[in-house]
């Protein structure tokens, strides 16, 4: 059963041409996608926040801030919303740039509705995966924060591959104490194995 409207992913549409914008909104409604439209890149930036699930359908050529410039801004802000670019004829160089900057795909006008909807589905799947990954990272960080300073010290040395005896010597603790701390670390970090612990620490970039 689908969750409430608020948690369904939204298709965000940015296009300066009101007819194209409206037609896309019409199409989204015909397949039941929640949709929001914006007449300019700036309008989108003002109205969007990164915690909203969905994807962005973006016209590559717009007056003022262009589609590529908006993409750049979003990259700078580390926004993860997946982008599908709408291009016209002769926009191939721009499309290439867009792809290199991380767009999910691009589609030329006029397009077949199914082609666009396929790409949107692709983008929504990517969004789900992105958010899951982001969620994972945040969970790891929270777990790290929950470690006591001493536990943290022990963990840093454990992931370097040092034996408990060596760690005890480095930190001037008894080996027994180190073993206890180590056990707490594994539990708090939810690590299934040393390898798992190392992977998590690597992922959040905390490997020293």
């Amino acid at each position: 059963m689908k969750a409430t409207q608020g948690t369904r992913p939204t298709i965000f549409i940015v296009d300066d041409d009101s007819a194209v914008r409206d037609a896309l909104k019409f199409l989204m409604r015909s397949v039941g996608h929640p949709v929001e439209t914006f007449a300019s890149a700036q309008e989108f930036l003002n109205g969007y926040s990164d915690d909203r699930a969905g994807c962005l359908v973006l016209d590559i050529r717009m007056p003022g801030m262009s589609g590529l410039e908006l993409q750049q801004k979003l990259v700078e802000q580390r926004a993860i919303v997946p982008i599908i670019f709408i291009t016209g004829h002769g926009d191939v160089p721009m499309a290439v740039e867009a792809m290199q900057a991380g767009a999910v795909d691009f589609i030329q006008k006029p397009f077949r509705d199914q082609d666009l909807l396929d790409r949107i589905n692709q983008a929504l799947e990517k969004d789900v995966a992105n958010r899951a990954a982001l969620g994972e990272l945040n969970a790891i960080r929270e777990r790290l924060v929950s470690l006591t300073p001493r536990e943290r010290e022990v963990m840093d040395l454990v992931v370097q591959g040092k034996a408990n005896k060596v760690i005890a010597g480095d930190l001037n603790l008894s080996q027994r104490t180190v073993e206890i701390h180590r056990a707490h670390v594994m539990e708090k970090m939810n690590a299934a194995s040393l390898a798992h612990l190392v992977r998590m620490v690597l992922e959040v970039g905390e490997l020293k």
Partner: protein
Amino acid sequence: METVGTETPAQRATRLEYEYQGVLDAMVDALFIIDARGTIELVNQAGERLFDYREEELIDKNFSMLVSEPYSVGQDTLEQSLQSGEPHIIGAGREVRARRRDGSNFAVDLSIGLIRGSDPQRFVGFMRDITDRQNAEDKVRQLQDRLTHFGRISTMGEMAAGIAHEINQPLTAIATYAQACQRMLADPSAALTPDLLQGLERIESQALRAGEVIRRLRSFVRNREVRREPIDPNRLLDDLLMLAQTDTRHHSIRIRLEQGAGLPLVQADAVQIQQVILNLVRNGIDAMSELPHDRRELHLRTRLDEHGDVEFMVSDLGPGLSEAAQQELFNPFFTTKPAGTGLGLAISLSIVRAHGGKVWYRPGDKGGACFLFSLPPVTA
């Protein structure tokens, strides 16, 4: 003949008469001597040939039989001018339709002057057949019109990408609406009639939008007669905006429109003036092609200048023109564009000049190039 020293007055008179006749007969132009009422007293050989009469047939006839339309100087007929005896009014060459013996008419250049010291007053008239000259002038005008027409086609070619984009937008909307409507129809149970109607309405209006773009393009580019009418300069700019935006939108350029209030009408061919403005817009777009998208602005302005003329301005924020380029700006075939014809400004210049206006360049206030042209107001 004996030498001058031994000439008697009678011999001198005879010699001069022969020489005088010789001059008359050698002349290429037709010469008439007429009295104050236009009665012909003398015709030279060129006149006989031009009109296909012998001199005897013209003597004592009225000069007006040789002229096809009532010849007038200002409000006066020939007779009245001659009677007023003001040679300076009738002295300058005028184009007149003349009539030959067989009734055919042709164009001549006519000049009439008072024979000073003649009493009673007599006048000399010179006529030159200018058919060839007129044909040459017509030919030049035709070529000029053709070139101007070519200029519009060329501009349209440069705008091709923008035009394609402008038509593609409504097509995209139409395709999208149509496909969405088909999806809606796929579910017979859903009560979607209002939505479907809306989709169809939107399809219709987008099709008309595309049609309008095409109509304006065709109207602009077709070969047509020059037609000068009293025109509101701001209306002219408004009409042009759609075409101009076809070009500017595609290049992400903002148009700043500043239209002066209370401008007088100008006597102009709307399409030609729009052609000039569009050419300047085109140049402005090219000038700003290297600028970041959000800094591209074209300033279009109309205002009344100090002389009471209507001044049009197109200025951009591009790099402006070098001193060297400014010198050569309006020369035909001068261009700073790799694929340019170099004719746009030359054609624009000739159009504005033909309208009695001026074109000039100055550097913009914020760098960039500023092109201006003025048109005189319609005289009451």
